[in-house]
Structure formats: structure tokens, C-alpha cells
Point group: C2
Chain length 191, copies 2
């Protein structure tokens, strides 16, 4: 299983549908790092071109992996060790390519339907079980810029709930998506 | 479907396994309120006996449901409207009993195995589909006090991941548990 996650802070939309670089939310880094560790994600990339934001994330990582936090909470250390900061999606793709010796499939996620090549949870779980390397992109703020959906290899179906409400946090979306994919790919592997 | 959630700040354990009242984490209230709205939860109770903490949660609710936030973000309003603050688990049970005209089944959750009456995700989804009212309890800090598992009608099986890592946030646990229960109970309903 070869899954990589990217939390994208640029290019994303703000409230007025302008393309911006959003600020990093500390709790996103912690929650998604812990989920990455739980579900066996290989690396979790925080994507931001802003140097002060990159520095903030690096400080958090250092505190928990080599600083005081590393002896205070070993479980947090194991999680934060999976986090890397990159300045762009393509920098992450390049790093994954070097590790895996092949380019990852780019999977864009969203709470809404977008143009692009759609893939269901079941199909993506099958792709993962088949051994392909996948890089899932999650947008912050008002979501990933539209052209990412067109460039991506696949656009994952939205997490839909019976109520139709689709305004959960990106942290919650990562939890639900990872749980669905891993449960389905284990089911696939044992079928 | 009649599901209630409780985020318990007392009685829970601290790092040294002493029973304490933990502090409320703002992001817990927001994330779990939004998940409650998405999955059709009837009410989300924040359980704390500390009056200053109760006041803090009431301020958050007021800001988003009647204050400035209510016009700024309607989706957040819909979510925060589901939140109530109570001083104890039994106060929440009493309030649910009045609304539903019968007592809810108390379901304790944890990342580890506990003594008590175990129930699987599948079984609990069946109970929910059958129309029973359930009240799921989630612990903060180092988890719910042991006697809650003994008093509860059921203890839900832990969210286990292939890696064995079980140190995800309570916010992530609520997301995963609700998604599993609702997916399975919809499957049950349509089977």
C-alpha cells in the first residue's frame, strides 16, 4: 500500500473565489499526521509556498520529533515524523517519484462534484490494492483551485451524507476518506 | 434514526490515570457539531460540570447561532444549533428521555478494549436501524472513567487500523465512527 497525502494551502479559493495561499491550521497538521500514522500513509505533505507558514510547520515537527515533545509523547512523535513541508504540489510529486521510482497517481478530493476523471471509493481502493502509488490532495479554505481537478488523474467522489450537509472540516474529511479507502482495500485484499 | 452524541469532559482520566474534569477544546465543539449536522445527529451534548467551561461553550454557540457568526456563516449556524451544554451525563440522558419519551441506550466508546457489554459496528447499526434511541459517549483527555463502560448498555468496538496505532484525536474518532454507523445502517435499511 503506497498512499501519500497532501494538505494544500495554495492554490485554493478564498470566500470570494479568488485564488490565495491560506494560513496553516496547527490542528490540521496534528490530526492528519495522527490519521496518517494510523492508516499507514507513507508521507503527509503540507503544501505551502509561504516561507513563514513553512517555518511554523517545521517548528511543530521539530518540537514533537526531536524537541521536548518527543520525550513527552512518543505517539505524537511517530505521527509528526510522517510530515514534510513542500512549497508546491509538483515538489511533493517529485519527492514521491524519487522514493517510489515512479510517478504517483494524482487524486483530487472535494466536497462537491467537479469536472475531471471521476473515481469511486471502491474503484480507488482497488487501485490502491493493486499496488499503485496514489497522492491524495485535500484543499483548505474554500477548496482546491479548479484546474487541479482537470490536471489530476482522478477526482474522488465526494463524501455524501444522507442530510446533504457537506460543510465538515478538512480534518474530518481526511478521517472519513482514509477509513473508507482502507476498509475497502482490505476487503479487496482478502476477497 | 435517533442518535445523540456526548463529548465527556468529566469523569475522564488525566495522564496519571486520575479522574479529572478536562478543559473544553473549541475545535472539538466545531468539528463534532458539523459532523452531527452532516450525519443527522439529533443533539450533541458537551458534558462539563465546570461553570467557566460551560460558559465558554455557550458563548461559542451564541456567537454562531444568534451573534455575528450566524449571518457570516449559515452552515456553521446549522451545525452549532445542535449543541447543548450539560453538567453531567445523567442530565443529558434525562433531556433525551423527555424528547424521545423513552431512555436512550448508553453506548460508551474507546480506543481500547474495556469490560462491559461489547457491540460491533454492524450490531449497533442494526440497533439504530431498528429505531432505538442511542446516546454515544466520547471521552476527552485520556478517556472515559472505567465505571462508565460497566454502566453503559453497550461498549462499542474500538476503531482499529491495520497498523495498530490508536492515538487519533477524538474529533477523528467521531468522524470515523459516525461514518461507519451511518453507512452500515443505511445498508441495513436498504438490504
Amino acid at each position: 500500500m503506497s498512499i501519500y497525502l497532501g494538505l494544500v494551502h495554495y492554490p485554493v479559493y478564498n470566500r470570494n473565489h479568488e485564488t490565495v495561499a491560506s494560513a496553516v491550521t496547527t490542528v490540521d497538521v496534528h490530526d492528519i499526521a495522527r490519521l496518517s500514522r494510523a492508516y499507514g500513509v507513507k508521507r503527509f505533505f503540507v503544501v505551502t509556498p509561504l516561507t513563514d507558514q513553512a517555518l511554523l510547520v517545521k517548528k511543530i515537527i521539530a518540537h514533537w520529533t526531536t524537541g521536548y515533545g518527543s520525550s513527552y509523547n512518543m505517539h505524537r512523535k511517530e505521527a509528526l515524523e510522517l510530515v514534510s513541508v513542500v512549497s508546491s504540489i509538483s515538489e511533493a510529486v517529485e519527492r514521491i517519484g524519487k522514493t517510489e521510482e515512479s510517478s504517483p497517481l494524482l487524486i483530487a478530493t472535494s466536497a462537491s462534484i467537479h469536472k475531471g476523471n471521476p473515481v469511486s471509493f471502491e474503484e480507488l481502493a482497488g487501485i490502491i490494492s493493486a499496488g499503485r502509488t496514489v497522492f491524495l490532495l485535500f484543499g483548505t479554505a474554500w477548496g482546491l483551485e479548479e484546474n487541479i481537478f482537470l490536471k489530476a488523474d482522478y477526482v474522488l467522489e465526494p463524501v455524501t451524507c444522507a442530510t446533504g450537509y457537506r460543510h465538515i472540516s478538512v480534518r474530518s474529511a481526511v478521517a472519513i476518506i482514509m477509513d473508507r479507502l482502507i476498509q475497502k482495500s482490505q476487503h479487496e485484499a482478502f476477497a
